[in-house]
Symmetry: C2
Subunit: 198 residues, 2 copies
DNA sequence: GTTACTAGGTTAAAAAAGCAACTCGGTTAC
DNA sequence: GTAACCGAGTTGCTTTTTTAACCTAGTAAC
């Protein structure tokens, strides 16, 4: 009970999804810079100012799917059960992502997801913006880990590790293998990477 | 070119249709007065004030399908080719409606249309309101036919004829016959009725 | 080099929608 | 009989969306 989101909120969310989906679908079809924001607004049946009220820039139309995971690492650390070390919590969280083939782990072989990742990695402005998102994520994680240089170093290493793992997984799948097939290696890589963190 | 309906107009029309369709669908399912306007607003995912901005009363939620034909008879008379008598133009127009099994002629056997007509005819407040629509239609037709008592009499008779014809057709179909089967009789009835008009 | 066009992004005003609280007439409960 | 309630329709206020016009940077035309 009490899913009472309210009409306004419900429609807002749906509009946001409609815009994002229309955008990604067009980008995958024709490439990032062969689609104008006008095209997207038209496809989503909203006006251009409305589009920019939902997404500050054209890049964000793609990256909101990552943005939805913003601060996830920090949250995992903050919400860990007492007695669990931060790195362990992050390790388990990543492992759980692998087990459910979560797209953020790179271990998804849904064609749409694979194509989406290719789009992001091969479009410079998108890759650049994604890096900025990750930096924010890193700062948040550092704050969750504590103060001082130690926390900052650990945060940077964790996110670096996650990035490399995700990209490695994606590459194997982009080469034609199935997620199920890659899964054991992905788990082994993750174990090795997380275990060698301080 | 120039399908340019404009975003605003397009959405308005769609909202109107969504409300009307939701309303009729609920009315057919549960009956006119076992559905509240709140139910309809919820089903159409709009707020109650918005509903009443589109439809002045609950009855109009049903009758807008007739309202869309408002003034049609008058228009047919005004737009007739020179040399054609008004009654002839109206006769041909009705005949054309029969040939394409237009719901307003009563000669449609789509279950939804049949049920819709039953709803209107068996709900007093709806039947009453429909009569008022037809009176307005009659006035408009009278004006199109000219001035004076002659025009008014003819208008009244034409609409009376059309009403009887439509209801006769609907009754035969409500009794289980197909529109295709009834069509010849409907045409014959219409010919007889229109030919005996002054 | 100017001109003109395109695409990302912004602005101001007006239309439309949501929300909550209200009126008013008619039932039901007690 | 009166209090509580329900459903149709309204009202005032706020938020959201459309519209059309604009700004700016890049780039193609000539």
């Amino acid at each position: 009970m009490s899913e009472s989101t309210g009409l306004r909120a419900r429609k807002k969310e749906r509009t946001r999804d409609a815009i994002g989906d229309a955008a990604v679908s067009l980008f995958l079809e024709r490439g990032f810079d062969r689609v104008s924001v006008n095209d997207i607004a038209a496809a989503a049946e909203i006006s251009k100012p409305t589009l920019f009220r939902y997404f500050p820039t054209k890049e964000d139309l793609v990256l909101y799917r990552f943005a939805d995971h913003q601060g996830e690492a920090a949250r995992v650390v903050r919400d860990r059960k007492s007695g669990i070390k931060p790195v362990t919590a992050l390790h388990r969280h990543f492992r759980a992502g692998l087990d459910r083939y979560d797209p953020v782990t790179g271990l998804s072989d849904h064609p749409e997801v694979v194509a989406f990742h290719r789009l992001v990695f091969t479009t410079p402005s998108l890759a650049g913006r994604l890096t900025r998102y990750q930096l924010e994520d890193e700062e948040a994680l550092a704050d969750a880990l504590g103060e001082g240089i130690q926390a900052r170093l650990l945060a940077a290493q964790v996110l670096a590790v996650q990035r490399v793992l995700a990209r490695t997984n994606w590459q194997k799948i982009a080469d034609g293998r199935t997620a199920h097939d890659v899964h054991p290696e992905a788990v082994a890589d993750a174990d090795q990477a997380f275990n060698q963190l301080p």
